[in-house]
């Protein structure tokens, strides 16, 4: 039993943090940077740091590390608002390596080199959060029909990883080249403007067995992975917003003193710190569970982490805006980029209520088993 990261993991985190601070500051968004162009420039730097190969097996040129090694990086990605097209691609390396390592060997090698972009196509209009309710289906004729929402960077993804029902009615995970006939992406107008999101239509797309990554098990793992990484990203956002607010209230003076001297402000900062600390505990545990736990514990851990991260982020980001007063409401102050991303991550990978229900069911199963 050891609930801590090791020295290398902390050092790698620091390297990534410094690099993002220097090369990917939030000012770029504020100054009207185009998120797609910004992402393109960032991509090469992250590839140089070896980030895309982090979880790719060594045989395919990666570092062969796991989710715990990625955890602190995912947190930094959240804090720095790294586009979700990047996290999707890194998450995909874990899914492809776990469920389809040999079929996807070539893709994994490219991904490790930063030469393959992957996007997850999961959620649907009227589909809610439970994959059992998703409509995308492959018919008996081997043709996939469906439409997915909020797919990050879909128009330039080399590979789309999609959740769909197979001809036998089983939920499954498929990897399809973005250029395959019948797939078309259309840019969405989304709350989060730190990345580009697309709806993707699959219109009689021909799918073969070779495209299949796995069945329901792969789908469940993938959704848990995405939720865990969202929880880590939210922890990063919360932590960055806390730091930003604390720095601001130390500096801003009213009534002849720094506003951070007013107890009403101190106490709000303290509550934010407690919340961020706890959300981290949950998100780290979920990262470990993705790497090492049996399915039941993994699901339970991830849902706890996401439920807490959701509640924390809503609270902490709201407070951060409030503590900045009128400045907080300005485009210029740039808090709203984190505010937008926080809501995006909160709503997309399972609402608090959805995850709460899974937690309760998990706990009741544990209690029934004694």
């Amino acid at each position: 039993m050891n609930f801590d990261f090791n020295e290398e993991q902390y050092m790698f985190r620091d390297t990534v943090r410094d690099s993002l601070k220097a090369e990917f500051p939030v000012d770029l968004f504020r100054d009207g940077g185009d998120p797609v162009a910004m992402e393109a420039a960032l991509w090469g730097q992250l590839a140089e740091l070896g980030l895309f190969g982090l979880m790719v097996p060594e045989e395919q040129g990666g570092l062969g590390l796991g989710m715990v090694d990625f955890a602190l990086i995912a947190e930094e990605f959240g804090a720095a608002l790294v586009p979700l097209s990047v996290t999707d691609t890194i998450c995909a390396s874990l899914v492809l390596a776990k469920f389809a390592a040999s079929v996807q060997a070539e893709n994994l090698a490219k991904l490790a080199a930063g030469e393959l972009r992957v996007a997850f196509a999961v959620y649907e209009k009227n589909g809610g959060y439970d994959p059992a309710d998703f409509a995308a289906t492959i018919g008996g004729d081997g043709l996939l029909n469906g439409r997915k929402l909020l797919v990050a960077g879909a128009d330039r993804a080399d590979l789309l990883v999609i959740v769909a029902r197979d001809a036998a009615g089983t939920l499954a995970l498929y990897a399809l080249e973005g250029a395959r006939a019948g797939i078309s992406a259309s840019r969405e107008t989304a709350l989060d403007i730190t990345g580009d999101y697309h709806s993707v239509s699959f219109d009689k797309v021909s799918v073969s067995d070779a495209d299949r990554i796995g069945g329901a098990e792969a789908v469940d793992f993938t959704l848990d992975l995405l939720a865990a990484v969202a929880a880590l990203g939210l922890a990063g956002i919360g932590s960055r917003m806390l730091d930003t607010a604390v720095a601001y209230v130390k500096e801003r003076s009213q009534f002849g003193q720094p506003i951070g001297k007013f107890q009403a402000i101190k106490h709000r900062c303290a509550d934010m710190a407690v919340d961020v600390n706890t959300a981290r505990s949950g998100a780290y545990y979920a990262a470990w569970a993705i790497a090492s736990a049996e399915e039941a514990e993994r699901l339970w851990a991830v849902s706890m982490a996401k439920a807490k991260a959701n509640r924390m982020a809503v609270h902490v980001v709201r407070e951060a805006v409030q503590l900045h007063g009128g400045m907080g409401y300005t485009w210029e102050m740039a808090l709203h980029f984190h505010y937008r991303r926080a809501r995006h991550l909160e709503v997309l990978y399972g609402s608090t209520e959805y995850h709460n229900e899974r937690v309760l069911q998990g706990t009741m199963a544990q209690l029934a088993a004694g």
Partner: protein, 396 residues
């Protein structure tokens, strides 16, 4: 990072479990319970602590030379979990083990450690904490109880209040003023006081729960030998900060977490039994959400503790960050106690002894008791001040 237990840790767990099964009375938690009378219960708990000691289960992570087991904090955590699983009684010497002993380990001299630590473990000597005074609660540093040097002794005069378990205690950790002429934080000293000393009077105070755990304690010309001063004269505030860091820290919180989780498990079980009209409470989606929220809150309390344990094992000393633990757990535990009153229907209002009570009145009792969580060990407002000023660095 690894949440799995090593084979040695597993073996340890199996040993604890087997011992508990043999040591607890037959039918424990089902047909056999703790005495209902508060005083009988206190003595029952002291007996239980002695039994633990005889079984070699006291002071799991303490050095062997003070009578401990020399094991790790992880094993200490496993032990606490197994006690909770078996619904073993709580101890009463928490102040001895978690506060007096930890403070002596850091600031006591060797003679003091050898004299006091083994008897704390053996529950031969129960301890209380004489910090708060009627006019020095949150502003603890303004304590007025005085200790004046006189020959080989100090002579103590003054009053303490809210002294938990004083009526069962042989010893007291006392914060007293030894210099009036310096700023308030600089004139306090930390003493070990024999509660049998002439001049000590204890007057019980009744709590909102109807219990009598805490007391007023009066000191009138009480002689305390000079060897019972801990650390340097007038260094008591710094030493008391160590005491408070442990009082608010992960070890204390983990033991509590396990009790809270037990209570929540019981609530989930009752929500399946109790009908709210045509359906069980557990079938109400709003109630499910509320139960789940508390599950998440309490499990993450455990995760917070485990993260702190790992830091402590790495050698980090407890500091103001422990306020993050305490502020968090006190509120989520209160939330749970409030929630428990709102999900089981009208019968929740019936206390122990009533034929229609649920779970022997545990939930209404916890609801009353939980008010104390955000007051003792420093109120929430004080924890927030500490976090803001000493963790986040906001201006004083």
């Amino acid at each position: 990072m690894d949440f799995n237990y090593s084979p040695e840790e597993q073996t340890f767990r199996d040993e604890v479990r087997a011992w508990l099964a043999s040591a607890l009375p037959k039918g424990w938690g089902k047909t056999a319970f703790e005495p209902e009378d508060e005083d009988e219960r206190a003595h029952f708990r002291i007996e239980w602590e002695r039994k633990l000691y005889e079984g070699g289960w006291s002071g799991i992570s303490w050095p062997t030379k003070y009578g401990g087991r020399g094991a790790t904090l992880v094993e200490q955590g496993i032990f606490a979990e197994e006690c909770a699983r078996a619904q073993a009684p709580e101890g009463i010497n928490v102040i001895g083990r978690n506060l007096a002993a930890t403070t002596l380990m850091h600031h006591g001299n060797e003679a003091q450690r050898e004299r006091y630590l083994p008897k704390i473990l053996a529950a031969e000597e129960i301890w209380c904490q004489g910090f708060s005074e009627p006019n020095a609660g949150s502003d603890l540093a303004s304590a007025r109880c005085r200790a004046v040097a006189d020959g080989d002794d100090f002579v103590v005069n003054g009053q303490k209040i809210w002294t938990s378990f004083a009526q069962y205690s042989q010893w007291c950790i006392l914060l007293a003023r030894t210099d009036q002429d310096v700023p308030k934080h600089k004139g306090l000293s930390f003493f070990l006081v024999d509660m049998k000393s002439p001049g000590i009077t204890i007057r019980p105070l009744t709590q909102i729960s109807g219990e009598n755990e805490f007391n007023e304690t009066f000191f009138e010309d009480v002689r305390v030998p000079k060897e019972n001063l801990v650390g340097e004269l007038n260094d008591g505030w710094r030493i008391a900060m160590t005491t408070l860091a442990y009082e608010r820290g992960a070890e204390d919180a983990l033991a509590r977490q396990i009790r809270f989780k037990q209570e929540l498990d019981l609530l989930i079980a009752k929500a399946q039994d109790v009908k709210l009209g045509s359906k069980a409470a557990i079938d109400d989606p709003a109630i499910r959400q509320r139960l789940a929220t508390s599950i998440v809150d309490l499990e993450l309390m455990r995760m917070n503790c485990l993260r702190e344990f790992s830091k402590a094992i790495k050698g980090e000393k407890p500091g103001p960050e422990s306020s993050l633990m305490k502020l968090y757990w006190s509120h989520v535990a209160q939330d749970m106690a409030d929630m428990a009153m709102e999900v089981l229907g009208p019968e929740t209002l019936l206390m122990q002894g009533d034929p229609d009570t649920i779970a022997r009145g545990r939930f209404p009792m916890s609801f009353m008791q939980s008010r104390a969580f955000t007051i003792y060990s420093g109120t929430s407002e004080i924890q927030r001040n500490i976090i803001a000023e000493r963790v986040l660095g906001l201006p004083k």
